[in-house]
């Protein structure tokens, strides 16, 4: 924690507890008095929004598991039972399904914010690494969950994703059979996916605690990227940031509710309302939108093993970001060159996402340019950004002068 604890137990019971299990002291120091830079902007509210999303997914998921049956003969029917017969079942399922998309929307904003303001740099490397672990766990959980309704897209997504492991030389086939519990995606696969889908969110919750713990050692980064110099630079987390986060959470919930109540299937795929059929592969399988950039990377490499290596390599790359960025200044506000490349990278991710959403033989907006070529260039740029541009820019760029303290420009602006 930054600074000594200021908790003062107010009652006899609180004093008794404080010497035995200082849980109130912990809560007080982490969510009430925690000194937070006073200049955090809207992009810093997504941490709280993400915690909220995790809570929503866990609560609605526990409820759905009360009605869901993880068996190939009954899974699809049980989901329709939830949609038709269970009291508010349609609401709970739509919240859970769209909640996954909202969760990823928030996590992507949260990650790009970290990249823009250099929140992964010394001394916050562990926060970033734990964050990447959370992101990978989220992707695994989302994939496992998407399998459960046992629609056509569920089944074929499970088949394709598990087959990624068959690219591993020598042991690939054995690993895939181990994952399946058979020679194809079938009931044993569904049951283990359900078990793991129920388990992983609690693992995520555990890593979230580590993530916040690691955050509370050096304290928050901020849009200026400079260190907190003293109490004049900070405000207590409560009520300043609790109320601010609540306001932006409420705005986020309007978007969430708009999807749940007025476009609940917009982000889904219609063929997942067809029950899984191991004899027929749908003509155009696409992952959920949040996986599209990775899907484009996988498809852009014409070799099975190298495609899978590129896919996992793109995720693993994120772990090395704190050391690939050689710049000493954190915030992109004071890094004119890095800022340009940051936006190019964001654009590259959208290009990959667009390429992934289109059929593999597609073209770019009615032009004769093959989307496959576009995806290949975008994939190359993805790796170039992290492994070449980031280290070089940090070495050659001249940052703008940094302000003396957080309080100074903030208070000047207010006057």
């Amino acid at each position: 924690m930054s600074g000594p604890s200021t908790y003062v137990p107010k009652s006899g019971f609180a004093r008794w507890m404080d010497t035995r299990l200082p849980i109130m002291r912990l809560a007080h120091d982490t969510v009430i008095t925690f000194p937070t830079p006073r200049n955090l902007n809207i992009w810093y509210t997504f941490g709280g929004i993400l915690a909220f999303c995790l809570g929503v997914q866990i609560i609605t998921g526990i409820v759905l598991a009360m009605h869901y049956t993880p068996h190939t003969a009954m899974a699809f029917d049980s989901v329709e039972h939830i949609m038709r017969d269970v009291n508010y079942g349609w609401l709970i399922r739509y919240v859970h399904a769209n909640g996954a998309s909202m969760f990823f929307l928030a996590v992507y904003i949260h990650m790009f914010r970290g990249l823009y303001y250099g929140s992964y740099k010394d001394p916050r490397e562990m926060i970033w690494i734990l964050g990447v672990i959370l992101y990978v766990l989220m992707m695994a959980t989302a994939f496992l969950g998407y399998t459960l309704p046992w629609g056509q897209m569920s089944f074929w997504a499970a088949t394709v994703i598990t087959n990624l492991f068959s690219a591993i030389p020598f042991v690939g086939e054995a690993i895939v059979n181990l994952l399946w519990g058979g020679f194809s995606v079938d009931n044993p696969t569904l049951q283990r996916f359900f078990s793991l889908h129920y388990l992983l969110p609690f693992v995520i919750a555990g890593v979230v605690i580590l993530h916040i713990w690691a955050l509370h050692v050096p304290g928050n980064n901020n849009p200026l990227g400079i260190d907190v110099k003293g109490p004049q630079d900070t405000l207590p987390f409560h009520p300043y940031y609790t109320v601010k986060d609540l306001f932006y959470l409420s705005l986020f919930l309007i978007l969430f509710a708009a999807f749940v109540f007025y476009a609940p299937n917009y982000l889904g795929h219609s063929i997942n309302y067809i029950e899984a059929d191991p004899l027929v592969t749908p003509p155009h399988i696409v992952p959920e939108w949040y996986f599209l950039p990775f899907y484009a990377i996988l498809r852009s490499i014409p070799d099975k093993l190298m495609g899978v290596v590129a896919l996992f390599g793109s995720m693993l790359t994120l772990f090395f970001v704190p050391w690939l960025d050689t710049g000493k200044v954190r915030s992109a506000r004071f890094r004119p060159t890095y800022r340009i490349f940051f936006w190019l990278f964001v654009f590259d991710c959208f290009v990959l996402g667009y390429a992934g959403s289109q059929p593999v033989d597609g073209v770019l907006f009615n032009t004769p340019i093959s989307l496959l070529l576009v995806a290949r260039i975008a994939t190359l740029y993805f790796f170039l950004h992290f492994w070449v541009i980031m280290p070089l820019v940090g070495l050659f760029e001249t940052p703008k002068p940094l302000p003396d303290s957080i309080a100074k420009p903030v208070l000047q602006a207010a006057e």
């Binding site: 038709r84 269970v86 109320v243």
Partner: protein, 194 residues
Amino acid sequence: MAHSHTADTTRRDFLYIATGAATAVGAASVAWPLIDQMNPSANVLALASIEVDISAVQPGQMIRVMWRGRPTFIRRLTPQEITDTNAVPVADLIDPTARNGNLPENAEATAANRLTAPGAHGEGAAPAEWLIVVGVCTHLGCIPTGNQGDYGGWLCACHGSQYDAAGRVRVGPAPENLAVPPFAFLSDTRVRIG
């Protein structure tokens, strides 16, 4: 942050209280669907009533049917059993109320309030010889065994409760008579339970 104006402070406090209250209202509204989902779902409620053919049941016989996932006894009493159950004074019963879903809650546990006949009542009507009860011991939910015990009715093997031929508890620890579910005779040979 030092606001000296009282009016401003009051307005601020009101704002904070209103925001807090709205948060509480929102959270409480969200809780309801999460609780209500555990109530019986529409397909379970749709099966809440069943129809039973009773044409094959002779006096002295009993059939068991499943209603709402629980055994329900449909017993046709013999004239002797009807006489015996009518002879028991209500004052001697452990539970003096009829526990009949078709009668007011305070109806007495007379045999007449427990037994039913299909069709019209009164002169010339079929005798009230049908007993329809939920076959679940009112103590802790075991299923009593028929034709056992000292009262011509049921004995619950779990904790020794005994019921007479009209399903009334005669030996504890069960506190209540076997429940008579809401039912209606659709004809002389068909009854709808629930």
